[in-house]
Each structure stands twice: as C-alpha cells, then as structure tokens.
Amino acid sequence: MISFTVNGKAVSVADPPSTPLLWVIRDSLKLTGTKYGCGMALCGACTVHIDGEAVRSCVAPVSRAEGKKITTIEGISPDLTHPLQQAWIEIDVPQCGYCQSGQIMSAAVLLAENPAPTDTDIDEAMSGNICRCGTYPRIRQAIHRAAEIKARGAK
C-alpha cells in the first residue's frame, strides 16, 4: 500500500508503485478534474502539486507520492474562492476547458512564489502548459487579475 494525502484527506492505494499518479488520482480515487493529455510530460494537462511543487502526474510514479501532500484542482479551494478561480471565472478564460485545471495548478505555484508576476515571469512559469484552444492571452490576463485579487485580500 502507498499512503499519502489528497486534498487534505489521508488515502492508501494498492496500485503498483510504478503506476502513474494520474491513473491513481483519476481511476482509483475518482478525482477526474485532473486531465490526461499526452502521458509524456509534454502538455501540462495532468499537473498536480506534491508538497506544493507542480508535478506532471502522468509521468510521476505513485511511489513518489508516498508520505506526501497531493493537491489536485479539486483541492485548490473548497468553494471557488482561490484568487485564480475568481479571476478565471471573471475573465471567462476557458474555451473547451481541457487544459485549464493544469493551467491553474501551474499558475498557483507561480502566484505562491511571486505575488506580482510580470509577463516574462508568466511566460517562464506557464510555457509547459499547452492550450489547444489558444486561450493564452486570457490566461495571462487572469493571472495578473488573480495577483490583484490576492493583493487586495491580503490587505
């Protein structure tokens, strides 16, 4: 058994240690907000956090999660109040939506480390997340907006 927490809840799974964390999250734990795009760490759709760091769950063996705190898109806030969620809704970022949970998980690491990112910071933080629909301008706008919302909330 491999034990870790997902969105604050302790879980133990019987999947073989080399099983991609993404399969465990989606198939064993039934958290389907995290998406499968490429399975080769090329697109970013499967991004989750392990102890606060972004990880492509399609290539991370579940053994890497042992004893760690996993956060998925479902766990980023219980009630859509994360500044990124507010900004995403306000600006209506998604088109098809498939890439968006990965986008938000990468953006969350950026904002946690850099409360006022520049366009260059956003480019460097988000270039591993592909959007087939090309929503990049809105993603950029929404990250700036989330930074504002977060700054206002912090006051």
């Binding site: 760490a41 760091e53 972004a54 290539v59 990468s106 850099n114 591993g128």
Partner: protein, 225 residues
C-alpha cells in the same frame, strides 16, 4: 571483461592511486622531519619545501605535458557529447536531443539550477529514466549547474574546457583529485552512460573516459593549447 568487472578494476586502481599519493606525501614529510629541515614559513609551495630535502615528488613522467595534452584530447569528446553538454549550456536553458536543441517548453536554469516556479526539473524528471523513447530521463540530482557556477561545456575548445576544469574558481572549488572522483563516481555524471531509451552514448565508455582523465592528471594536467 564485463563492463562491471572493468569498472571494479578501475575503481580499485583509482583508490590505489590515491593511497599511493598519500603515502608518498607522508613519507616526504617524515624525510623532511628526519633531516631536521623545517618548511619555510611562507611563500614556498610544498613542492619547493620538499625539493630542499633533496627528494622530489615530481618525476619526469609526472610533468609530461605532451602526454597530458593527448590524454585530455582523448577525454574531450565526451564532455561535448550531447549526454554531457546538454546540461552544461552556454545560455540559461538546458538542451535536448542528439542535436542539442534548446529544451522545449521554455525551461529555465533558475536560481538553483533546477528551474523556476512550476517549471522545475523535478516537475517532469523523476529519480530514474522512464521507459520508452522520448520519455523524460531521470536522476535524483537532475538539473543544471547553478547560475553562479555555470560550468559551460557548449562551445568550449579542448584547451578552454581544460583550463576551466582545472580552475577551482570555475569548477566548483574542486582539486584535481576531486575532479577525478567526480568523473569516476558521481551518479549524475554516470547517467551519461545510462541515458535511457533512444539516446546515444558518449563516444568513450566510462572506464576509458576515467582512464584518460586519470592519465591527464598523472602526467601533470597540462592543457591543450
């Protein structure tokens, strides 16, 4: 000989070499004490101090510059092979592939050599290679040299690279012995010879590479011009 046995033999030889050097130095010091001569207080290197005792640690073979240069020239193609130079780039992005193209996804070196924000090496690279062509390779230490010690290999001539490798200000503060240990035993260096599916190997195997580096050091570590 299997690769494994070869490797064991080389490691043993390397260890013997270190032990020999240590013994030689130690016996020099005893000689110095026995003759009642003390090392000068300042200014002179230990080699000069030892020379005063009439014993020299440096034989003619030890300073065979031509042999040292030739040995380094043998090792050099390994450093600039894609498996080694791709993580020793001249810019701030790692390289990929046998054509050493800039890493996809705008990956950056970052302040610690391990990337930025949610684009850290370990975001995609695991502790071990993943099976299959074009899957991310891995090692626990996967990363670039940090920005304050870039250790650039890309674009360096053999002479430039050799001088850089010898300079503790540019090599992470390593002595020649530490450089040898590094090339012989470091796990991330060793990845170059275990690069996972679909990646070519460096032009020398690791034991031959280490032997060339050992010879370079033994012959006085002169650099190609």
């Amino acid at each position: 000989m299997t690769n494994n046995t070869k490797w064991q033999v080389l490691t043993a030889l390397l260890l013997l070499g270190f032990a020999g050097a240590f013994l030689a130095l130690w016996s020099q010091q005893s000689t110095s004490a026995n003759t009642g001569k003390t090392a000068p207080a300042r200014g002179l290197s230990s080699a000069n101090a030892l020379a005063e005792t009439g014993v020299t640690t440096v034989s003619a073979a030890d300073t065979d510059a031509a042999a040292a240069q030739a040995a380094f020239e043998r090792a050099y193609p390994v450093f600039v092979s894609p498996r080694c130079q791709n993580c020793h780039p001249s810019g701030d992005a790692p390289l990929q592939g046998d054509d050493s193209h800039v890493h996809a996804q705008n990956v950056k070196r970052g302040t610690d050599g391990h990337g930025v924000y949610g684009m850290r090496c370990q975001t995609c690279h695991q502790d071990a290679n993943l099976p299959g062509a074009n899957m991310p390779p891995g090692n626990p230490k996967w990363g670039l040299p940090p920005p304050q010690m870039k250790m650039v290999f890309v674009g360096r001539t053999s002479g430039e690279l050799c001088r850089q490798l010898k300079d503790p200000k540019l090599n992470g503060g390593r002595s020649l012995a530490q450089i040898l240990t590094h090339v012989a035993a470091d796990d991330l260096v060793g990845w170059g010879w275990n690069p996972g599916d679909g990646r070519t190997l460096p032009p020398l195997n690791r034991p031959d590479f280490v032997a060339a580096m050992q010879e370079w050091v033994n012959d006085g570590a002169a650099c190609p011009n």
